[in-house]
Symmetry: C2
Subunit: 345 residues, 2 copies
Amino acid sequence: MEPPAQPKRVTIVDVARHAQVSTTAVSKVLRNAYGTSPEMRAKVRQAIDELGYRPFAGARGMRGQTYTVGVMLPDIRNPFFPDILDGITDALWDTDYRVLMAPGRNGEEAEAKVTDAMIDRGMDGLILVAPISPRSHLESVAGVVPTVVVGRHGQSAAYDTVSDDDLAGAALIVDHLADLGHRRIAHIEHAETDPSRLAEMPNAIRADGYRRAMRARGLEEEIAVVSTTYTQEGGYLGAQQLLARDPRPTAIFAGADIVAMGVLQAVSEAGLQVPGDISITGYDNTTFAALGPISLTSVDQAGRLIGANSAQLLIARIRDRTRPTAQIKFSPTLVSRRTSSPPPS
Amino acid sequence: MEPPAQPKRVTIVDVARHAQVSTTAVSKVLRNAYGTSPEMRAKVRQAIDELGYRPFAGARGMRGQTYTVGVMLPDIRNPFFPDILDGITDALWDTDYRVLMAPGRNGEEAEAKVTDAMIDRGMDGLILVAPISPRSHLESVAGVVPTVVVGRHGQSAAYDTVSDDDLAGAALIVDHLADLGHRRIAHIEHAETDPSRLAEMPNAIRADGYRRAMRARGLEEEIAVVSTTYTQEGGYLGAQQLLARDPRPTAIFAGADIVAMGVLQAVSEAGLQVPGDISITGYDNTTFAALGPISLTSVDQAGRLIGANSAQLLIARIRDRTRPTAQIKFSPTLVSRRTSSPPPS
DNA sequence: GTGAAAGCGCTAACAT
DNA sequence: ATGTTAGCGCTTTCAC
């Protein structure tokens, strides 16, 4: 029944013999290296096709590259991250590079285990998306293998970065709500205690952006921040606190869409109408936000663009490890939906 | 500024020298192989710790294993699939195996590219989640590397399978709705034309399960199926068709939660109340379903369990390639939420 | 432009 | 129980 296990993998030696050339020649053709005549290339390519040869990355990695890029994502459930992964995968689809991903599981220890595993597996480069690891760990990883860090502000000489302007994104929300006539705009943030991350993590920047934007609109008196976590429950608990205040806010800016989900539930349980009694906004423009029954006003970070640019930076760094590091920042856009409207009069 | 690139990677030779033993000894300790005294093990372990040695998978893969398991997921945006990945990752977390994942991108060609890439990278085993590739491709992959196929019914001598009983799941929904008093229960399925997949793909089985359950309840006259796709748009369009019928159904069983999202939107646009005017159910019990404002009745497939069992089957097969293939099937459970209630009187 | 040969880090026969 | 040695499949000097 069982198909007889394939005889043996075709190797570069088989190709060389079949094409009547040396293995060196095959290797060179494979890598488009210098020193091959057009005739040789043709012969080798034909032999490769005829034999169905595919190079074995493990062996390649012992001397050269594995043509593999590792991506660490913190949380594939947040639909924003798959966008980034798609951007990376698309950008590399027609190259020899392949993308392999592992979940970072939101822990320093777990992240270290993942980055180690990727290094040990000979990845040519790493893209770390919104890592929570301390800077020192990121730099030591980047010292071993070309690395791009996505979604953390602050620059490093050791790795390139790609991020979205969270400061501007928070301002988009505050301005949108203030333009609608809101004054008592509250914010639910993800508590950040570690001082080194305070300056780099998106959540901290969003909270900072909220405060700045409020001041810029002359609403410093109305600044109201509740610290919970970027989870549905964090939103639920945060909203309960805010709704208990007197006067209660007319708008809640949740730091992430998933937080807004919890807020919506708390608001609904409190018997309030959205947006009639209170406006709600999220951040990330995830699939959640777009769902018909939800229709959440949110901030869109071009995830695919972020991913595509990360991939390009990484490939550039793999080619030239000494090039100066780059920091790419994208501007977010506001997506206005049904959960925001002028405040009750 | 830049931390000076690490001198050189520590190799098994360094460990051997430092521990005053042979490289063979180190290799054996690493693999818990036969023929090492406790003293030797202690010495080697200490040297490994002192030098911070970590084996290089590429080199290992040339002779033995890479201790890497590849997982292909069709769609990380469907929150059901991350559950499976978590189950796999958790099950292998405390072993030497590491899990690397790649998106299958819902295409035969893309899936082939991904499985090839994983084979070329020396994966010890593959877990293919809900692949759409034809059986022949799955079998040829399984002929090269130990493989577990998740979420496809039907057995093979070449690979193990783990799936959830979609026939039973569909019956759970139909019975739930019928028990509530519904008779005109409609179903939105994902169109399946390929005959070979008709018998294996979960979507086809769910539609079949719906028909069987309706007959079992004496509702064969009421069977109403619309074929679209398992997407939000598919749900939207499918629901529009169903709502235009006279008499219109009192309940819609969407084949997947994401489909139900589109249904909810269409129903809302038609000015109908859920569940007052019409009951809606999904399938997969995704994060969507649990969101406060959605609260969708759905079918839960224990994703983590499926993942954990896949991992165990795979490791067992890696250890013994000749063991007979196993087929594990789990029973789904109904999660009743606010979108289902008795029909309007 | 081309190829012979060394060697990457590890595992597995095969001694001892 | 321990060590010696020959590769695994590829890339990379370095001759020609």
